[in-house]
């Protein structure tokens, strides 16, 4: 690579980094600034850093509890989505019957239903089942909403897996379930990582359904907890931003530990 090309690439990368980091910097200046501090949002309050906003986010917004609730919902919903989607995708990919094509088409069609259009019947159902304001009451609808895309991704991926692998396993005496468990599932790692990223990000950031289903302060998830600082008669942006920063921490930690898998997953998908 020529020298000036290197410089150009470096500049582009630095610009990209800057664009990503500026909102984070603005969040820091806002979170550590007094609400009555009307100085520029670009100025970091070195002389008068306040922890009040973080304290308000935790004590009044219940952000720590909300982060825990979001983590519980995200982990379980993502796990269930991956498990159910992989199991559902296998027969859809391998047995191309007319019925299975119809099922696949129907599953895809479900993706077009806006979640809020079924809100009232869904709310009534959850109320009848006693699931309002419970983890299960939120996890089950979210899994249902995420399954179609996950099934689609798994189905497409499984179709690219050579059938000869399964036939070889059968010849070696493996049952269908053993073949699935020992041969097929391990091959699904790249697409599983993709599904985990898409599902987890959606569930972690989900606001619309959570705000209707998880109404008590103890059960509220992260996004509605932060939104509780914005009202018709004024907002506490500083506390809301402080809450957002707290909410980012688990994602950052998860990404630091799992980035190897994420990168591999994305690259493996791209190679195919």
């Amino acid at each position: 690579m020529r020298r000036h090309t290197k410089i150009l690439v470096t500049l582009l990368v630095l610009t990209g980094c800057l664009v990503q980091l500026v909102p984070f910097y603005l969040a820091l200046t806002t979170a550590f600034k007094e609400q009555s501090d009307l100085s520029s949002v670009w100025a970091f309050p070195f002389a008068a850093i306040t922890w009040d906003n973080l304290a308000a986010a935790i004590a009044q917004g219940g952000v720590l509890r909300a982060t825990f609730n979001s983590a519980v919902v995200t982990v379980i919903a993502t796990g269930l989505t991956c498990m159910l989607a992989a199991l559902a995708a296998y027969p859809l990919a391998r047995r191309r019957t007319r019925l299975n094509r119809g099922v696949e088409f129907t599953i895809l069609a479900v993706m077009m239903v806006p979640p809020l259009s079924i809100l009232v019947p869904l709310y009534s159902l959850l109320n009848g089942l006693g699931l309002l304001d419970t983890y299960a009451g939120l996890i089950l609808p979210l899994v249902c909403l995420e399954l179609p895309r996950a099934i689609f991704l798994y189905t497409q991926f499984l179709r690219a897996v050579p059938l000869s692998l399964e036939e070889a396993a059968r010849v070696d005496g493996a049952s269908r379930l053993q073949t699935l468990r020992i041969i097929i599932f391990p091959l699904l790692k790249p697409v599983t990582v993709t599904v985990i990223i898409l599902t987890a990000v959606y569930v972690w950031n989900e606001f619309a359904l959570s705000s209707y289903i998880m109404t008590s302060t103890e059960m509220r998830t992260l996004a509605p907890s932060i939104a509780a600082f914005f009202g018709a008669n004024g907002s506490n942006v500083n506390a809301a931003v402080a809450g957002s920063l707290i909410g980012v921490v688990p994602i950052l930690i998860a990404y630091l530990f799992l980035q190897r898998y994420f990168m591999k997953g994305m690259l493996a998908g791209a190679e195919k």
Binding site: S36, T134, A136, E218, A228, V237
Partner: protein, 417 residues
């Protein structure tokens, strides 16, 4: 990822899902009273409510589960209403009669109703005179003003009677280099502006026309939106209107960068004082070309009704009566910085006290109901914001915006019928 790890993951996920399916919110299974509020997480009123709830539980043995919501509150209550699962006691936020009366227990037989301010009769009692909510908060709205800014421009804000007076004041303020009117495209301030003007803009015949299903496009354009258009043409609005939020409006008033804001005082003045505790702010009556100047007001956000279908109705009525006790209602209203809807409740309103003393307490000025709540069909609020906004930003003329209002009015009116 090994097979063992995969298996362990699957087992753990399934086990956790099964386990959590059985989990429920704390306190479910008991007959706790449910109480829903329209309030932010950091509202000063929250601590007051929590204390009052603890006192009520101590006194009666009835536990109360308080939940609060903000911008999503209205939609949340609509969903609960549709699902037949309304909270036992909930904030009616200005809609106890027009939207919720069918679902609320009439409260006329409650002892505290004798203390309800009669000025609220128009907005809080139905045709039969039934009252459906406890008005802990009485929203009285005028034009928010920074007194220092207008005095510096040589304007006596208390002497503004007509829209011509107001326009002259705006011109004088503009000449000092300060923004005459602050408004925000990211909040409902455009709707508030149209609502303020419309509340006393029409003749009786025109009002009856709006009420009866005929949207008078020419009157709306000429008597409401033409004012907005004139202010836009004269450059009286803040330059950052499109990107400004309600907090930005408060900030501009607090820093003396703007003179007036046409939004309810309760929406903006508390934030303004938080940003600048020594800001010389208050509110003035709304000018008019029809008879005399006026205030706009009615049922506040913190008004509480009891669900007709509540299984804990007796306890719910007791709780509302407990909130209506003068000391308790005063504690809530003080925390909110709002005027109380109960005449036996005295509230210290701090720096805003002088405005309330000048315009509200003497009860000499007429208080008109919010125009949209009484004369326009339910659901038109967002269109009112969007159409007024389109005039402020120059995307539509008053006539075009009025036509748009009429379209939505006709649709909603037909749906309501």
């Amino acid at each position: 990822m090994t097979h063992t790890a995969l298996r362990a993951g699957l087992v753990a996920t399934t086990a956790a899902a099964l386990l959590l399916t059985g989990c429920s919110a704390p306190g479910s299974g008991q007959q706790n009273l449910t109480f829903s509020l329209y309030m932010t997480a950091d509202s000063p009123a929250r601590a007051v409510y929590e204390k009052l709830i603890a006192d009520f539980t101590h006194e009666t043995g009835v536990a109360v589960d308080m939940t609060y919501d903000t911008t999503n509150y209205e939609n949340n209550i609509k969903v609960k209403m549709a699902a037949g699962n309304l909270p036992d006691v909930f904030a009616t936020h200005g809609w106890s009669v027009l939207r919720y009366s069918e679902f609320l227990q009439p409260l006329d037989d409650q002892a505290w109703t004798s203390g309800v301010n009669t000025a609220l009769n128009t907005s809080m009692r139905d045709d039969q005179g039934h009252l459906y909510a406890l008005p802990v908060e009485y929203t009285v709205a005028g034009i928010a003003v920074n007194q220092d800014v207008v005095e510096k421009a040589g304007v006596d804000a208390t002497a503004i009677n007509t829209w011509d007076d107001f326009n002259t004041a705006l011109t004088k303020v503009a000449a000092t280099g300060v923004t005459p009117i602050t408004a925000s495209g990211k909040s409902s301030s455009a709707g508030n502006m149209a609502d303020f003007i419309a509340s006393n803009a029409f003749t009786d015949a025109q009002r009856q026309s709006f009420l009866g299903g005929t949207f008078d496009t020419a009157a709306w354009s000429e008597r409401v939106l033409s004012h907005v258009q004139d202010w836009r043409t004269a450059g009286f609005f803040n330059a950052d209107y499109v990107s400004a939020s309600l907090d930005d409006m408060a900030s501009q008033l607090a820093q003396g960068q703007a003179a007036f804001a046409l939004v309810p005082a309760s929406s903006i003045l508390a934030t303004t004082l938080k940003l600048n505790p020594s800001a010389n702010i208050g509110f003035i009556p709304i000018p008019s070309d029809q008879a005399e100047r006026f205030l706009v007001g009615g049922e506040g956000i913190h008004s509480f009704g009891v669900s007709k279908s509540s299984k804990n109705k007796e306890a719910a009525l007791k709780f509302v009566a407990f909130l209506a006790e003068p000391d308790n209602a005063a504690a809530i209203a003080s925390a909110l910085g709002s005027y109380s809807g109960l005449t036996n409740v005295k509230v210290d309103l701090g720096l805003l006290q002088s405005s309330y003393d000048a315009w509200v307490t003497p009860a000499q000025l007429p208080t008109k109901p919010f125009f949209d709540r009484v004369y326009l069909p339910n659901g038109i609020w967002s269109t009112m914001i969007a159409t007024t906004d389109s005039v402020i930003t120059g995307q539509a003329s008053p006539d075009q915006a009025s036509e748009q209002m009429k379209l939505q009015y006709d649709t909603l009116f037909r749906q309501a019928r």
